[in-house]
């Protein structure tokens, strides 16, 4: 899996490409927690090019959401493919995680 990090007007964006499973989730966890410990308060995770997610990937998203809330920051999840979104729905995570359709929606929410 490839993770592209960029910063736009104080917002840290993580673009995920490939598959987020128990083999790749650790790399993503390290990157996102590095950003949080470096003081980032506003995060966006772009799922546009993510083809697959398992519970290991959901775990990292949940953990990061809890961590950023403790810092009074926010995380937005955007541009999910249908199958990936369904995994969030099956887990019931769509009811409390901020999932929006597009990157623009995510950026405008801050």
């Amino acid at each position: 899996m490839e993770i592209i990090e960029e910063k736009q007007s104080g917002i840290n964006i993580f673009r995920l490409n490939g598959r987020l499973d128990s083999n790749t989730s650790q790399g993503f966890e390290q990157k996102i927690f590095q950003a949080i410990s470096d003081g980032s308060k506003n995060l966006v995770v772009d799922f546009k090019d993510l083809d697959y997610i398992s519970s290991a990937g959901l775990r990292v998203i949940l953990k990061a959401t809890k961590a950023i809330k403790r810092e009074d920051g926010r995380i937005m999840l955007c541009s999910m493919q249908d199958y990936v979104k369904e995994v969030f729905e099956i887990a019931g995570f769509d009811s409390f995680l901020p999932i929006v359709s597009t990157m623009d929606d995510a950026l405008q929410s801050f």
């Binding site: 598959r19 083999n23 697959y52 959901l58 775990r59 199958y83 099956i90 409390f96």
Partner: protein, 143 residues
């Protein structure tokens, strides 16, 4: 129609998830499964495989996990076999998934996902092996 069976073996390492995906893509194409069905089967087997690798083996030796896929009429039968410690994933309680960020617990989520995606789960311990058989109806085949 002759009953065809597809099987492959995975080594006990999480890096083998790529191999699982590749094998399922190949097998899914041969059987004529939709992309959605391949995704769901991949996810269910990934959750099981990850559980087996994370908790199943108490030594550092390499183990083999065998996957067998058998299409039967309108149903797909998936069998996963490992020689790890006895572990019955169907014993797990169903987690409360409708919760808040603060209260959400991640334990048992994998098995919850498997239950949602599959129509039947059956566990057996035979010849010192865990044998888990999953069944998935193919009736709702969408492109």
């Amino acid at each position: 129609m002759a009953k065809k069976e597809y099987s492959f073996e995975l080594k006990s390492s999480l890096a083998e998830l790529d191999n699982l995906c590749q094998n399922l893509e190949d097998c899914g194409q041969k059987i004529g499964l939709s992309k959605k069905q391949i995704f769901e089967i991949n996810l269910a087997l990934d959750e099981l495989f990850t559980n087996i690798i994370s908790y199943g083996f108490k030594d550092e030796k390499e183990h083999i996990i065998k996957v067998t896929i058998t299409p039967q009429n309108e149903e797909l039968c998936l069998c996963i076999e490992d020689d790890g410690i006895p572990f019955n994933p169907t014993d797990f309680a169903i987690p409360d998934v409708a919760c808040s960020v603060e209260n959400c617990k991640i334990g048992g989520l994998g098995i919850h996902i498997i239950r949602k995606l599959m129509d039947d789960i059956c566990y057996e311990r035979c010849n010192d092996k865990n044998v888990l058989t999953l069944k998935k109806s193919l009736a709702d085949n969408e492109p």
